[in-house]
Amino acid sequence: MNLTGLIFLLFAHYFAGRGVIRLFRIDVDAIALLCLSMMCGVTIHSFVPCIMDLIHVPLTASNMYIWLGGTSLLLSIPLLIKIKETKLPTLRLPQLYEVPFLLIFIGLGVISVWRCWYFPPTPRDVLTGVELIAEYAVKEKTMINSAFSVDVRLNSAANNIFKSPFITSLQVIYKLLVLPFGQLWLSILFLSFTTWFYTILRQVVHPLLAGMLLLIYFAVPDLYAYTYIILYDYSNMVFFFAGYYFMMKYMSSGKVNELLWVSFLFGLATYIRSETLVLAAFSIAIFAIYMYRDKVSIKQIVIRGGIFMAGPLVFNFILSNILIKYLVPYKFKLGDLLNPNMTDIGLLFDKFHELVFGLMFSPKGQAVYAHFYIFFLVVFVADLILNRKISRSAGMTLWGVLIVFITLGVLSFLIPSHTVINSAKRGLFKLIPLATLYMAQTGLLQKLSGYLQNRENRVKEAATAQPAANTKQPKKKK
């Protein structure tokens, strides 16, 4: 493994991502800033090999260093301009009761990174598509290479050569600069996202409850497996969640820069998996309903909705009409993949039935998601019974969960190759962080969190009051 290459990439991702975040003027705490910078940096850099290939620059290690360094420098201009405004972060040490959970998370993180480093890429979907292209791109210095000369099974169920070059590019970068199997970019995404997600949960509930919720989230077997097996769904989940989370933040702030940021994040999610365009379109309904309830004018709703959808549409255009069009020497025909029997609505209900009883609540589903949905349903029902009302933030998150569920059912109906047992199975990952966040936002956990926080504050106040009283006593004697 080339450690120099890895260190270079870590800095390059950070500065590129940090520059982009500064460009959008997003105000987040130090840990979130670091994590989001890494996440964005990794994804933005995946465009670099594509651009190099489109303008016929050979994909060699030295060219990659130059281009990635140059891109990072260019993207960090917004950061460099206001370098004087940069403050050193104030980091807080974890509380004693967070340590047991943190040790578990660090252990699971180390195991995931080890497996990601040790094993070569495995999924059939990447070996018959993006990984094959990346392997020969490194050997032949171009992404249009001999991988396309074998029987690529055009218009078969998977159509893997037409998938986003997101993985191909990152594999090319990491194979050239770090190690022959690439893959470590996934560990960066995983560690950054999980850390950021934990900070979000800690803001919403008491750290003890945040630790418990993150443990339930971590212990979803397939979700954990895809932190070291390269495929699109984990990365897609990361950016879909980020987009949805900042959309909820925008709903309360109403700042234009945050809306642009949301649009950008949904755009990145669409670039990774083009089906996200459908999810973004469904999400816009929630966006519009909440704005209407906040008495925003129809004209403003349309304008803001347009900005919201601009990112996914632009990135989808770049993906379909530039990257796939010019980097894959075959024509993609979506029409061949669509369900020829769209009028059969019964089939749509069959898909939803299969999604719920054939997957989520089936023995197969248990192996994939463990008891996650049971935890979620227990909290949901208990909250409905005991609390009887859903807060605005919890409501919005719950809508997100519903959107993912509905969209996946509809996609399985529209595109038969989007099978419930494979595609929807991994697509449901997008639901998991949202459902975890919802559990944190429920009145039930909020009350428990408030109780723990109050007790802790009272103990703290008593501890600070006692020494003060002790120091006063000798004065009285005088």
Partner: protein, 160 residues
């Protein structure tokens, strides 16, 4: 401080109870603590080729070995005809996975075809089951030989 210690004990208890739920206990023991893929088991097998063998298994070793067999048979530009997986299973070949032409190219750098692939007429060797339930490479010397093989294979659906 007492309250924080109490909360720490609650955290430890929660983790203990969580991993005592049968499914999570099983996941922890069979997946997370899987000895076969732990660092301590494979620390002496860290070369790229050893890691490939560890992941892709017996089939990968066979496919890589084919390169030596091609040299032995003096096949300069091998185009391997891959049998359908179901055909191999019917002939009791155990522990061997027939990969797709794309995966074969990824693993070995050589061309392979299926019975319905474009360019199947260029196939000059084939993987066939032998009497011991193992796989063996056979040369295809004539068009008649190829046609016979194709007519056998076409009876089986390809698993994609």
């Amino acid at each position: 401080m007492h309250f924080k210690i109490n909360l720490t004990l609650i955290a430890l208890l929660a983790i203990f109870l969580f991993f005592n739920i049968p499914f999570y206990n099983n996941w922890l023991n069979t997946n997370i603590f899987n000895q076969q893929i732990s660092y301590f088991t494979v620390k002496d097998q860290l070369s790229i080729e050893q890691r490939r063998v560890a992941r892709y298994g017996y089939s990968y070793v066979i496919y890589k070995e084919l390169n030596n067999v091609f040299k032995k048979f003096k096949i300069d530009s091998p185009v391997l005809l891959l049998p359908p997986e179901r055909y191999m299973k019917e002939n009791r070949v155990a522990g061997f996975n027939v990969v797709e032409p794309m995966v074969y190219y990824y693993l070995t750098g050589n061309i392979a075809v299926w019975y319905d692939s474009p360019g199947v007429e260029k196939a000059n060797c084939v993987l066939m089951p032998d009497r011991n339930g193992k796989v063996a490479l056979q040369k295809i010397d004539t068009k008649q030989q190829l046609d016979t093989l194709l007519s056998i294979f076409k009876k089986y659906k390809l698993d994609l």
